[in-house]
Symmetry: C2
Subunit: 437 residues, 2 copies
C-alpha cells in the first residue's frame, strides 16, 4: 500500500478516524512509517501526528531527519510541539529545534522551560489579542480577514493588551454581537480578568476552572505579560493522564506508558527494573520464614497457608491504598490527615479482619481437621488484615508528605510490609502452641 502514492495515503487518512489511524501506525514497520512521513507534505504529516499519543509521536519524530521533523513541528499547535519534544531524547529535541525557524524555535525553547504540569506547560500560544483603543468594527474586520487561520484557534475570548503585551482585559466573542460597531474595546472589556500565572500547578488550575466556568484562561508571566491561554480540556487531559499513570505505577509499569509497538528490549527493561527491585523486597519478607524453619519442619501444613495469608493481606492493603490515592487526587483527603485514615481504616480492618479470620480459620479446620491450626491461621489473618489496611491507607499519605509520587512504590512497599507481618504472625503464633499442633 505504501508504494509512494502520497495522494492515496492522504485520502485514506482523511477517511479514517484517529483511533484507527493510531492503530494502523502502531502496526506498520518503523521504516515504512519513516517513508510515509517523508512522502507526506508537512501539513498532512502534522495532522497525522496529532492523532497519535505523545509517546508514539515522539518515537516517530526521533527517527526522522531533524529538518523534516522541524518542518512538521512548525505545522503543529504549540502545546503539541512541547509535549512531543518533552517525550524525546534531549539531544534529538535540540537538533530539531535548531532547524525550526527562529521565532518558533525561540517559543519552543521558552515553553520547554515550563514544568509539564503547570499552566506554562499546558498552555497554547494561539490566542487573539487587540489594543483597547480598537473598535468592535476593527475586531470584526480582523476576524473576517483571518477567518481561516483563526478557525483553528478554538478560542471563545479575545484579550486586550497594551503595546508591551500586558494583559488589560478580556471580552467574550458573543459580546461583540450586541454593541454598536464603533464602540472601542476599552468600553466593553472586563478589566482585571481572571488569569493564571505560568507557574500555576495542575491542582490549582483545576480548582480555577471548577470555580470559574470558563472556556479558557489567559496565562501571564511574572510581569503580567500575556504569554498564552490554557483550556480546561488541557487541564482535564493532564489530570487524567496523571491518574492513569498512578494506577499503572501501582501495577508495576513505571516511567510512563508502554505500548506493544515499542522495541522488546525497552519494554522488557522497564518492567524488569521494577521486578528486580521487587525480588529484593520479597527476599527481605521471606527471610522471616527462614527464621522459623524449625516450626515449619514440625508442621508442614503451615507452608500451605503462608502464601494465602500474605496474599490476602496484600489485597486488603491495596484496597485501602487505592481509596487513599483516589481521595488524595479528588482533594477529599489531605496528606497530613493520618488520624482520620487510622480511625476510618481501623474500623473496616477490625470488621473485615474478624470476617476473614473466621472464614479462613474455619476452612483450615474443615480441611486439615486441626482446630488449633485453624485458630492460629484465623487469628494471624485477622490481625494482619488490620495491620494491612492501616499500612495501605497511610502509605500514600506518607509518600505524598515526603513529596514522592505515591504511584511509584506504594504497591511494592505495602506488599513487603504486609507479607512480613503475615509470615511473622502465623509462624510466631504457631511456635507458641507448637506442642499442641
Amino acid at each position: 500500500i505504501e508504494a509512494k502514492d502520497a495522494a492515496r495515503i492522504r485520502s485514506f487518512l482523511d477517511n479514517t478516524n484517529p483511533a484507527d489511524t493510531a492503530l494502523a501506525i502502531s502496526r506498520i514497520d518503523d521504516d515504512l512509517v519513516n517513508n510515509l512521513m517523508i512522502l507526506l507534505n508537512p501539513e498532512d504529516a502534522a495532522e497525522l501526528i496529532e492523532d497519535l499519543s505523545d509517546t508514539q509521536a515522539a518515537e516517530i519524530m526521533e527517527d526522522l531527519e531533524p529538518s523534516q521533523a522541524a518542518a512538521i513541528f512548525e505545522e503543529l499547535d504549540s502545546d503539541h510541539v512541547v509535549d512531543i519534544l518533552g517525550e524525546m531524547d534531549k539531544d534529538d529535541a535540540n537538533a530539531i529545534i535548531s532547524q525550526m525557524n527562529p521565532e518558533d524555535a525561540e517559543e519552543a525553547r521558552q515553553f520547554l522551560t515550563y514544568d509539564e504540569d503547570t499552566a506554562g506547560g499546558l498552555m497554547i500560544s494561539e490566542f487573539l489579542d487587540y489594543r483597547s483603543n480598537q473598535t468592535v468594527q476593527d475586531v470584526l474586520e480582523d476576524l473576517q480577514n483571518n477567518r481561516e487561520e483563526y478557525a483553528e484557534y478554538d478560542v471563545q475570548y479575545i484579550y486586550i493588551t497594551d503595546s508591551a503585551g500586558h494583559l488589560e482585559g478580556v471580552l467574550r466573542m458573543r459580546d461583540l454581537l450586541f454593541p454598536q460597531r464603533s464602540t472601542p474595546l476599552s468600553k466593553l472589556m472586563i478589566r482585571n480578568p481572571y488569569k493564571t500565572i505560568v507557574t500555576a500547578p495542575l491542582d490549582e488550575l483545576r480548582n480555577f476552572f471548577e470555580e470559574h466556568n470558563l472556556f479558557g484562561a489567559p496565562v501571564v508571566d511574572q510581569d503580567n505579560r500575556l504569554v498564552g491561554i490554557v483550556l480546561p480540556e488541557a487541564v482535564e487531559d493532564a489530570k487524567q493522564k496523571k491518574s492513569v499513570n498512578q494506577f499503572l505505577g501501582l501495577s508495576g509499569i513505571i516511567g510512563g506508558e508502554e505500548f506493544r509497538s515499542m522495541p522488546v528490549a525497552v519494554r522488557a527493561g522497564r518492567r524488569f527494573s521494577w521486578l528486580s527491585l521487587n525480588i529484593f523486597l520479597n527476599i527481605i519478607a521471606a527471610s522471616i520464614i527462614a527464621l522459623y524453619q524449625d516450626t515449619i519442619a514440625a508442621v508442614i501444613a503451615l507452608a500451605v497457608f503462608l502464601p494465602i495469608v500474605s496474599d490476602m493481606s496484600g489485597n486488603s492493603g491495596q484496597q485501602a491504598a487505592a481509596v487513599s490515592m483516589r481521595e488524595l487526587t479528588l482533594g477529599l483527603l489531605r496528606p497530613h490527615e493520618f488520624g482520620r485514615v487510622i480511625i476510618k481504616e481501623a474500623s473496616v480492618g477490625i470488621l473485615n479482619g474478624i470476617g476473614l479470620g473466621l472464614l479462613l480459620g474455619g476452612l483450615v479446620y474443615l480441611w486439615q481437621g486441626n482446630l488449633i491450626l485453624g485458630l492460629v491461621i484465623g487469628l494471624a489473618l485477622a490481625l494482619n488484615t488490620l495491620l494491612s489496611v492501616l499500612v495501605g491507607g497511610l502509605t500514600p499519605l506518607l509518600l505524598k508528605m515526603l513529596k514522592l509520587d505515591p504511584a511509584l512504590v506504594t504497591g511494592a512497599l505495602i506488599t513487603t510490609i504486609t507479607d512480613m507481618g503475615g509470615f511473622f504472625l502465623v509462624l510466631s503464633f504457631a511456635t507458641i502452641v507448637l506442642d499442641k499442633l
Copy 2:
C-alpha cells in the same frame, strides 16, 4: 457554625471552591448536612450539590424528604439529575420523581431509560432551537431577552428544527455575527448536521468528537427528533470515570467508588465481597502445595521461596494485564488479537524470565549455598514468568470477548493461575531432583 444562619452559610459556600466544599460536606455529620440542605433555598442547595461527586450527592438526597429533594432536582441540569438518580436506590428515586413537576418528572423518567454510557445517558436537555423561517434578528432578540437563562446553557450552537422537533440544521453562534439581520436561518444553517443517536455508545461518541472538532453534538431519537445535546466534556468525563473504575477494580474495589465518608458497614461489605472470593481462589492455588508436602518436609527451605516465586509471577502478570487493558481502552488492541499479544508478550516473558531466573537463582545459591536448589528456583521462576505474562496479557482480551468487564476479575484470576503455576513448577522440579537437594 450551622446555627441556622442560612445567609452566612451561603456566603461561606460562595467563597469556597468546589473541592473544599466537597471536603467540608464529607466531614460533617449526616444530620447536620440534612439540616443544612433544608435551611438553604433549593437554588443554593442545587449549586452545592453540583460541587459534589454523584455518589456523595446521591447519599445526601436519599436522606432528604422526597419533596425537598424534588425541589432541588428541579434546579439542576438534566444530566446531573439523571446521574444522581441513577446512583440512588430505585424506590427512593421514584419517590422523588413523583414529587417533581410533571414536565421535569416525565423528562427524568425518559432519561433514566437510557443506558448511562450512551449519548442518551450523557446528554443534557438544555439547548436552543429555532424554526428555519425565523431570522437572525429573531434569534438575537430571543438571546437578548433570555440572556440570564441562556447564560448557563454552555452552548456554542443553535439548532433548527421543524414544528415536530425533527432536526433540520445547525448554526454556530458566531455565524450570527456577520450576515444581515433579516436573513432567515434557512439560508445560513448547515443542513444534515453531524448528529448522534440516543443509543450511541461511549466509544462511538469519543471517536465522533475526535473526528469532528465540535463543542457539542445534537442527539436525536429513532425518528430524528432532537432530544438533547451531548458535550465532549461529558464524554471525556465518562471515559475517565470508566478507566479509573477499571483500575480500582484491579485493586479489588468493585461496584464503583468508595469514600471514607460512607458508613463503615458499606465500606467493609464492599471490600469483603471481593476478599472472600479471593480466599477460595487462594485455597485452590495453595492446594497444589498440599500435594507436595513430602517434598517440602524433605527440603524445608522450599517453603521460604514459594511465596517469592508466586509473588514475582503475579507482578509480571499484572504488568502485562495493565498494558492490555490500556491498549484495549485506547483502541490500539482489539479483543480478538490473541496472536499479537502472544508474540509480543512471549518475547518480553522470555527476556525477563531469563533475567529474573538468573537473579533469583543466583541469590538462592548465595544464600543457601545449594546450587541445585538455586537451579530449581531459578528455572521455575523463568518458566512461570513466561506463563504469567501470557496469562496476564490474554485475560483482559478473553474477558472482553465474553462481554465481561475486565476490571472485575482480571487481578484475582491472574494471581490464582500464576500462583498455581509457580507452586507446581517449583515443587515438581524439586521432587524430580529431590535426592540431590
